[in-house]
């Protein structure tokens, strides 16, 4: 199963390597969101520094949605999804493969856009960078794992690119609330570190529960 999942992820990532379309779009989009926010909140103003944790996750959410949408939309041309469905593998392999591809792309986008954000807003991290990375990781993990699942679900609809945000935002909002809080604490206010840790635990638990749930339920989503 793992092997098939890797094969699928490789296919997606390889076609991405060839065209670089999705990735570039996601990164440019992230850049645009940063720009819009820099208009909206004057970056020179010191109080607006407080919005940075929020901006980080707004970027992840909105550019993530672009990638997630693509992930299953791209299987609609020529009904290639049917090709995957009649192949001898479990539905969970498809899920895992798509998840891996999406997660990789998300991480790349974050790797590029967040340093850019810090630079533009001239932000000095006074907290712990390893913890920050950890939070980014678990937050993205949860967002993408649920997102991949819901993208598969939404793909059944005629206008799936519209349905996905409707499904995704409410379901992932506990994760988002958690990671925004944790990020805020880690980046600006290390005194409340224990509270951040509690948030991290909460989000991790949510991640695990949902990953398992998605893994089990994907079979019913991809069933024809």
């Amino acid at each position: 199963m793992i092997k098939t999942a890797f094969l699928l992820a490789k296919k997606d990532l390889y076609s991405e390597l060839k065209t670089k379309q999705v990735l570039t779009t996601m990164i440019i989009f992230a850049g645009l969101v940063i720009l819009v926010f820099s208009f909206a909140f004057d970056p020179a103003n010191n109080t607006t520094k407080a919005v940075i944790p929020g901006v980080i996750w707004v970027i992840v959410v909105f550019s993530g949605i672009l990638g997630l949408n693509r992930s299953f939309l791209s299987e609609q041309r020529n009904d290639t999804m049917q090709g995957l469905l009649i192949a001898p593998m479990d539905a969970s392999s498809i899920y895992l493969g798509k998840f891996l591809a999406n997660f990789t792309m998300m991480l790349v986008v974050e790797l590029v856009s967040i340093p850019f954000l810090f630079l533009l807003f001239d932000f000095k991290i006074i907290g712990s960078i390893p913890y920050f990375i950890l939070i980014m990781f678990i937050g993205s993990f949860g967002f993408i794992s649920i997102g991949t699942f819901l993208a598969a679900l939404a793909a059944n609809s005629k206008s799936s690119e519209m349905l996905l945000p409707l499904l995704l935002f409410p379901v992932t909002s506990p994760i988002l609330i958690g990671v925004v809080q944790a990020t805020r604490i880690i980046l600006t206010n290390m005194e409340k570190f224990s509270s951040a840790l509690a948030w991290i635990q909460l989000v991790s638990a949510y991640d695990v529960i949902f990953f398992v749930l998605c893994f089990l339920l994907i079979e019913y989503v991809l069933e024809v």
Binding site: L153, L167, P170, V171, P174, Y220
Partner: protein, 253 residues
């Protein structure tokens, strides 16, 4: 030469109606509901004390909490029937799940309207962004999304399957709403039962408690009645569709 595609697809054998049970049940339910609601109204306005600080507006409390409890129950029912549907694949389970979700959505909407009305007088604002309120709003959005999946085009079994999956996923927010005030520190939304992070459960006067419990039961029995009626109605609609199809084919041949 066949100039026309024939259209003699037979309709399914009309399924035996599910309501082999006597039609007395809805009447009994209706009776109980009316009695309970009248009692609840009496208890709320005549029996229970008027709250000291908030005054008469506090009466909204019974309805507010009752609606919330009912909504939670409704979503739980959806959750259970969704699982049942995925296992058994009977249309009736899907009907129950969907009707229950719809009623739950209505009651959530009630919470979301009574809340702000109360808030306007208690906190002097319609809305604040704090955990309980936010999570309740999220709950509303989740079941709105559920309804959107139902609106999708396609055959019913596909929609039923996807809805069941989402009904299971979406239910996770209900415990979060419930525990929101108990885990997070809230500045606004009060806790009555149990303890929160920053405040103790307030507890309430006995006569208020009685009124509350009766209100909750009144609304729950209203929910049961609505569920029963809704499912009946859906079944009827399914049957009418079948008849219509059959009729059309009879006409065509």
């Amino acid at each position: 030469m066949s100039m026309n595609l024939e259209r003699e697809k037979a309709t399914l054998p009309l399924s035996e109606s599910a309501d082999a049970k006597s039609p007395i049940l809805p009447k009994i339910l209706l009776g109980i509901t009316i009695v309970l609601i009248l009692t609840a109204i009496y208890l709320t306005f005549m029996y229970a004390d008027i709250e000291k600080t908030m005054g008469v507006v506090q009466k909204i409390f019974y309805f507010h909490v009752g609606s919330a409890a009912t909504a939670f129950t409704a979503f739980f029912v959806t959750f259970i029937f969704s699982i049942l549907y995925l296992v058994k694949r009977k249309r009736i389970f899907d009907t129950y799940a969907s009707v229950s979700a719809e009623i739950g959505l209505i009651f959530t909407t009630l919470v979301l309207t009574t809340g702000p009305i109360w808030a306007k007088s208690a906190w002097n604002t319609w809305w604040v962004w704090e955990p309980r309120l936010t999570t309740t709003l999220i709950l509303w959005f989740i079941y709105m999304a559920y309804m959107m999946i139902r609106q999708m085009d396609g055959v019913w079994d596909k929609k039923a399957r996807l809805c069941a999956v989402f009904g299971i996923i979406g239910f996770t927010d209900v415990p979060i709403v419930f525990f929101a005030i108990r885990w997070w520190q809230t500045k606004f939304h009060p806790i009555v039962f149990g303890n929160g992070v920053s405040q103790k459960g307030g507890g309430i006067a006995d006569n208020m408690l009685v009124a509350l419990i009766v209100s909750i039961f009144a609304l729950l029995s209203l929910y049961t009645y609505l569920l029963n009626r809704g499912v009946e109605f859906e079944n009827m609609k399914i049957k009418v569709d079948q008849y219509k199809e059959k009729l059309r084919e009879d006409l065509e041949n």
